[in-house]
Amino acid sequence: MVLDIERDQRRFKQIVRGRIRENLRKYITHGEMIGRRGKDAVSIPLPQLDIPRFRFGKNGSGGVGQGDGEVGDPVGKPGDDPAGSGGAGSEPGSGHLIEVEVNLDELAEMLGDELELPHVEPKGTASISAEKAKYNSVRQTGPESLRHFKRTYLNALRRQISTGNYLPDDPRVVPIKSDKQYRSWNDVPRPEVNAVVIYLMDVSGSMTDDQKQIVRTEAFWIDAWLGKQYKGIEKRYIIHDAVAKEVDEHTFYHTRESGGTRISSAYKVCAQLIDSTFPVSDWNIYCFQFSDGDNWGDDNRQAFELLNEKLLPAANLFCYGQVESPYGSGDFIEALRKQFGENDKLALSEIADKEGIYDSIKLFLGKGK
């Protein structure tokens, strides 16, 4: 049977990917796919790909059904089209959604294309030999220069014996096209490069759920992107108000404290974590810090000291995203800018609202570090 349904499926998926790409900005900003995350994939709701036709609208349409019920009783739920007789108005509208599974790596790739992100260059010597091709497999097609002599003749011999064309008295083995075997290569997985992402977030009283949602959305995309750059990336989470502690991912997004804002506390915990667990020589370290920037006045000096002496030297990249709270942004970002100027390892971004996520991600990951 000429059933190349896979080809049609591929085309369908390709078109679906195209739709996602077109709407990627919306998906980046709205974070709706985070709740639909599986282990390696997310499922994205998309409007059904529909071929438009001249068809009847809902207005004034109806159908014939069967069963009990009084006049005025609802048939099915609102929005549901009763299948009816397949007639007027019962054709499904264009409001239907389909769920499309997209693998996280693929999503990261789309993100990279959309934001024109440079690929990360891992630091350290381990990265130099990445992606080396090794000739360690065999295929049925290939250039003659790579023909695997022994295997080809072995195949030919097998064929001749099984078809009765091999004469022990006249042991000639003539390979035909289908016998030929060629050496081929596999990309040897790049040597493991260790990477850790450390998220730091201000959970003090002035940070509301809206801001945390923004952080969450942004972190999702950062994870997706860095996860594609490094296999098996580690993630750590630190929350702080006036004091800081390391927590798990769930706690990270679901904690609200009433303490004051002392950013230095988080920097201190972060520095300790790096010292104890992620030696700089072995790890690519990424720090992403989010706060509304309302640091309590006298804390800036201590924070800058830690940043300058401990964190910036250790990290590939230190990103600070200042998420605007209902009270506006504090002046931490300005103070950082004044103190550190154009530091190559430091990326500063102000995120006014959900729409700001897009540019913020672009700024952070656009550094290519």
Partner: protein, 162 residues
């Protein structure tokens, strides 16, 4: 009440003037008010602080408690105020308009601090879209300023009593 009466008298004295500091004292309690512009009925105030050494040794828990009752008292600023953050190390409670007031030109809110040491302070902030937030003068009637004076004073009494 001596502090309030003196303060109101001082306000009358700077009617028509700009950029003045008004300071009055009653024993350890010192009221400092930075006035951007004074008029017969009201004053545009940049900073309003009642300081007192009596708060030198207060416990944070007591500050938190008193900040709540201060917020309840100060209910005439047309914006509900509530404690937002407490810094235990610095022993300070921060209170703000909650939620902040919002109109087309931006967001506005009051910020109050109750500090060990100590002081009670009031400021006004403005945040325009796309701009950094800034401290702005707020125009309050002499009557409201008088009440603030009374209520800050009452809060200190409350702290000392507990």
């Amino acid at each position: 009440m001596k502090l309030r009466d003196e303060f109101l008298r001082e306000l009358q004295a700077i009617v028509g003037q700009t950029n003045r500091r008004v300071t009055v004292a009653d024993g350890p309690r010192i009221l400092r008010c930075e006035v951007d512009q004074g008029t017969a009925l009201a004053a545009a105030v940049y900073e309003f602080i009642l300081e007192s050494k009596e708060l030198a040794q207060v416990d944070t828990a007591i500050l938190q408690q008193s900040s709540q009752s201060l917020c309840n008292r100060v209910n005439y600023l047309l914006e509900p105020i509530s404690p937002i953050e407490t810094d235990i190390d610095g022993c300070v409670v921060q209170m703000r308009s909650n939620p902040p007031q919002q109109n087309e030109s931006g967001k506005y809110y009051y910020e109050l601090f109750l500090r060990r040491g100590g002081s009670i302070a009031l400021y006004r902030y403005e945040k325009q879209p796309g701009a950094i937030r800034s401290r702005v003068p707020v125009t309050l009637t002499h009557e409201v300023l008088g009440r603030l004076c009374e209520d800050f004073n009452a809060t200190i009494e409350e702290i000392l009593a507990s």
